[in-house]
Amino acid sequence: MPNSNTYKFSFLVLFLVLVICFFTNISLGSIYIPFKDVFNSLIGSATQQETWQHIIQNYRLPKAITAILVGSGLGISGLLMQTLFRNPLAGPFVLGISSGASLGVALIILGSSVFGGVFATFLISKWSIVIAASLGSFLVLLAVLLVSIKVRDTMAILIIGLMFASITAAIVSVLSYFGSAQQLQQYIFWGFGSLGNLSWDELLIFSIIYCLGILISLASVKSLNTLLLGENYAKSLGLNINRSRLAIIVSTSLLAGTITAFTGPIAFIGLAIPHLTRQVFNTSNHKILVPAVFLFGAIVMLICDSIAQVPNSDYTLPINAITSLVGAPVVIWLLVRKRKMVF
């Protein structure tokens, strides 16, 4: 569309900021490591202390990459949902993906006492949690979608999403009631969200599914732009609404589902990053928005993770809290400053 060139500079700046955030994120942590050694260990040269290399390569680097994947993935899935449902309040959370994932995980962690015995130990492995979360999120989203095809009213869809979230929350409460203290703690810690638990193997699987989701979202750019006109116009332009809707939903559930599965339910990013991006770029064209949301999401997530890490201390704050604490004021400030919501 017109003069994409004017955006090139913004994209360049954002990309540089992303690179800076990436290196800053890796440099900061519970132990101080000089930047020179951080850089050396990244390019594989020797560092002053061998443990540093281990920390960087096996802990901080995968964590930073996870942050980029999580931030960009949640941002893009939020954007897809907002456009599909024509609602600025939509996001992975509102439509029940995360609550679906929570239900899956709760069933695995808390429900294991119900299933009991040998079965239980088999259930609580990292992978079973990942699979349960993915399945849970996909099923809840599918349920919301099936109902949404019937009602066709945007607000109703939103309410239905919230209802599904309430149902899952209620089931989780019931399960919690029967769970042991240890199980409850495990579940609650999952709910805090964590970027730092991924090994390289897990990261590989994560990024494969992530890439698949991103590819589908890129393939949906044209239909997303058509949907800006509303569904009837989109249909009159020859768009196969059902197929596009399915592609958008599958992309979202792949992205948001795996992210929630691997890192826990991370709040706020999915809702806020698309708004942040629209305010800054002032466009609704998804050809611009999708890459911009990618960059913004990754940057914000890296910054939040750096803060959550509390540099040079032993504390790691729950990332879930930090994303909202840092991000919400930024969005409020942008809206107040521009006085007009871009959607």
């Binding site: 569309m1 017109p2 024509r86 890129l218 393939a219 750019v221 044209k222 732009n225 058509t226 949907l227 800006l228 006109l229 509303g230 009837n232 116009y233 249909k235 009159s236 332009l237 020859g238 768009l239 196969n240 629209r278 002032n282 466009t283 609704s284 064209n285 050809k287 871009v342 959607f343």
Partner: protein, 264 residues
């Protein structure tokens, strides 16, 4: 030119429109036989609730016909794949679009969607057609404006430009003059008349502006309670068709001025 020899763009044969539920079907209008020719401006008039929208929804393939056939370019509408239909039929609807943050150019460019590649990149040819559509609707100077900045009249022109950019033989507009003041009502309909002549496209619109439609249209489709009549405005006036349009207690059609008068 003799109308009989002109190319027929849209034709309906014994068409019945209405709603189907599991138990019964409600026929809104039946025995609809209309023919629209190339380059014609056609108005669809009728009272509220008489079935104008249902008819438009049916001939645009949004809802199914109860019985009868619809042909576009002599091919049954059912035989068109969605994308091919989008290349012969474009719409201007009454519904508000979802995002008004698009620029006018971007919005008109969306009309090229059936022709663009998977990511929607515009070719030189696409841009030429978009600019032509902007020019034909007199909105070149609005090109970079965003849609929320536009008045209702301007927005309607933009939506018409979008339909033009879709480059179809037939453009159908659902009540394009609602929300507009008297001047802009005339302006939009006059614009449609000009476009039908210049581009040789067939333009069908539904409207409550019967007097304007009588003055500007090549032919009119008049929907009244028992029948659907299609003819040139002059013939319709001399037939007395407009008398049947509304209940006779409040307004009457004045043949001399071609408009309705309130009874005193």
């Amino acid at each position: 030119m003799d109308k009989k020899n002109q190319h027929i763009i849209l034709k309906t044969k014994d068409l019945s429109v209405g709603y189907k539920s599991k138990k019964a079907q409600t026929i809104v209008a039946s025995n609809i036989n209309i023919e629209l020719h190339r380059g014609e401006l056609v108005g669809l008039v009728g009272g509220n609730g008489i079935g104008k929208s249902t008819l438009l929804r049916t001939i645009t393939n949004v809802q199914e016909a109860l019985s009868g056939d619809i042909f576009i370019n002599e091919k049954p509408i059912k035989k068109y794949p969605a994308l091919d239909l989008a290349k012969v039929l474009s719409l201007v609807l009454t519904e508000q679009m979802m995002s008004k943050n698009l620029s006018v150019f971007e919005l008109v460019a969306l009309g090229r969607q059936p022709y663009t590649n998977w990511v929607g990149n515009l070719s030189e040819n696409d841009i030429t057609i978009i600019n032509k559509a902007l020019y034909q609707t007199n909105i070149v100077d609005l090109k970079q404006k965003r849609c929320f900045e536009l008045s209702d009249g301007q927005l309607q022109k933009v939506m018409i430009a979008r339909a033009l950019a879709q480059d179809t033989d037939l453009i159908i507009l659902d009540e394009p003059t609602t929300h507009l003041d008297m001047y802009h009502k005339a302006y939009i309909l006059k614009l449609l008349q000009k476009l039908a002549k210049e581009t040789n496209k067939t333009i069908l619109f539904s409207s409550h502006e019967i007097d304007l439609a009588i003055q500007l249209c090549d032919s009119l489709i008049v929907m009244s309670k028992n029948k659907v009549v299609s003819d040139s405005p002059c013939n319709l006036i001399s037939n007395g068709t407009f008398e049947t349009l509304f209940p006779k207690d409040l307004i009457a059609f004045d043949e001399k001025t071609g408009s309705f008068r309130v009874k005193k």
